[in-house]
């Protein structure tokens, strides 16, 4: 049954992506044009709630530790920039395209094939190049809290505050702009009523 847990976790992930409509290209690409901040809201809410659950679990002693990905600033930043350019250009990321494959649309399947082709390339010469890039610059294997000496709970609080602030701005500004452009239409969801 070692396959069941990842399958269920993945299914929950896919359902959440589809229900938040992140399988729509406009939703993902819109965040870079500041016309649709759904992806940013989902991302920040997930970070805030997930960080809270992880810290609470560790504090209660329910889990001894959690894995931390290594930080290689140059590779992380360069990869992130290329990834962001791809997301803005195509309107999807790896997760959303697989969550959308159930539609059977040609474009979505073409994207999945593109991902697979790149992964095959990165198994060979591309992988060696990526490994070389990842060896440039310093490497950090700890968390921000351990690196700076700041209490982890305070960092979680900052994350929650950032999520709340962005949500406040998004709910106040974007619906107003939308309402101004479509005066005859009621606002679907707003905090400022």
């Amino acid at each position: 049954m070692t396959w069941l847990a990842p399958l269920l976790f993945g299914a929950a992930f896919g359902v959440a992506l589809e229900r938040a409509e992140l399988t729509r290209r406009e939703r993902v690409a819109g965040v870079f044009r500041f016309t649709d901040l759904t992806m940013l809201k989902v991302l920040l809410s997930a970070l805030a709630s997930g960080a809270f659950v992880v810290q609470a679990t560790l504090a209660l002693g329910l889990a001894p530790s959690v894995p931390v990905p290594p930080t290689v600033p140059i590779a992380n930043l360069a990869g992130g920039m290329l990834f962001g350019a791809a997301m803005a250009g195509a309107g999807f990321c790896s997760g959303t395209i697989f969550a959308a494959t159930g539609s059977g649309r040609g474009g979505v399947l073409a994207g999945a094939l593109g991902l697979l082709a790149a992964a095959l390339l990165m198994e060979g010469a591309g992988g060696r190049l990526a490994a070389r890039l990842r060896s440039i610059g310093p490497r950090v294997d700890t968390t921000i809290g351990a690196l700076t000496g700041v209490n982890a709970w305070l960092l979680v609080l900052a994350l929650v505050g950032l999520a709340a602030f962005v949500a406040y701005l998004a709910e106040r500004r974007v619906p107003k702009a939308e309402a101004a452009s479509r005066p005859g239409q009621r606002r679907a969801w707003s905090t400022s009523r």
Binding site: T2, W3, A5, P6, L7, L8, F9, G10, A12, G14, A16, L17, A20, L22, T23, V31, T38, A46, G50, A51, F52, V53, V54, L58, P64, S65, V66, P67, V68, P69, P70, V72, A75, N76, G79, G80, M81, L82, F83, G84, A86, F92, G95, F98, G107, G114, L115, L116, A117, A118, A119, M122, I144, G145, A146, G149, W153, L157, A164, W189
Partner: protein, 245 residues
Amino acid sequence: VRRAAAVIGLLVALQVGGAKAADPPSPELFCEGAPGGSKPSVPPSAAPSPHWRDLELALALSVGLAGAVVYVVHNERRRRREDAPSIVWTPYVAGAVLGVVFALSLVAFGRPLGVSAGVQQGARLLASMVGKGGTAVPSPAGLWPLWVLAGVAMGGALSAYLRARSGSASSIVAAGESRARTRLVAFGAEVAATIAGGCTSGLALSGGIVLAPAAFVFMSGIFIGGIPTAWVATHLRRRHQGRTP
């Protein structure tokens, strides 16, 4: 917002005031699975008991999050009253569900949920099957990323099916898409994920919730690369349509 900012400022001041008696670097987190990852200097069993400040901060956060949950539920109900019945989740509910799912995967199994890792594992298996290198087929437990990938596709398909049955419009709208461009951009995204060490799920979310610096550097990179690209794409499209900006 002003009150919340004041509370956060107060807590920061308290933290800075007590920084001289700085808490030791959080011993509960360490790197496992990462090649060359460091182990904690203090083993988890010998970790100090939580400080009162930790409990105060946790309590403040719990109250804040409870308030946020009440607000979101209230807004959801109002939205459902006002709009036609919809099965779309608000971004906050979807985000909270995602956060809990990612956190449970990390604390219960010690494994991140990375889609790009699943694609890479699939490619590795494919390469080994056709005899072009790659490694031997791992045990079922070693196929975690591939099962996650299958689950994402299944979950997305199931949700889209239920949405279609409920009569709601499909969330998948891809008018005017070019398959060649999509394939090319997807190619670039996977290459980028390999360079960065993960994608939005495997690095930004799974790393962000354990407060790894890599996640925040990667997310900054996404916006640094994405915003100019979106701007250029929009202008090119307008020019192509004959409406020069």
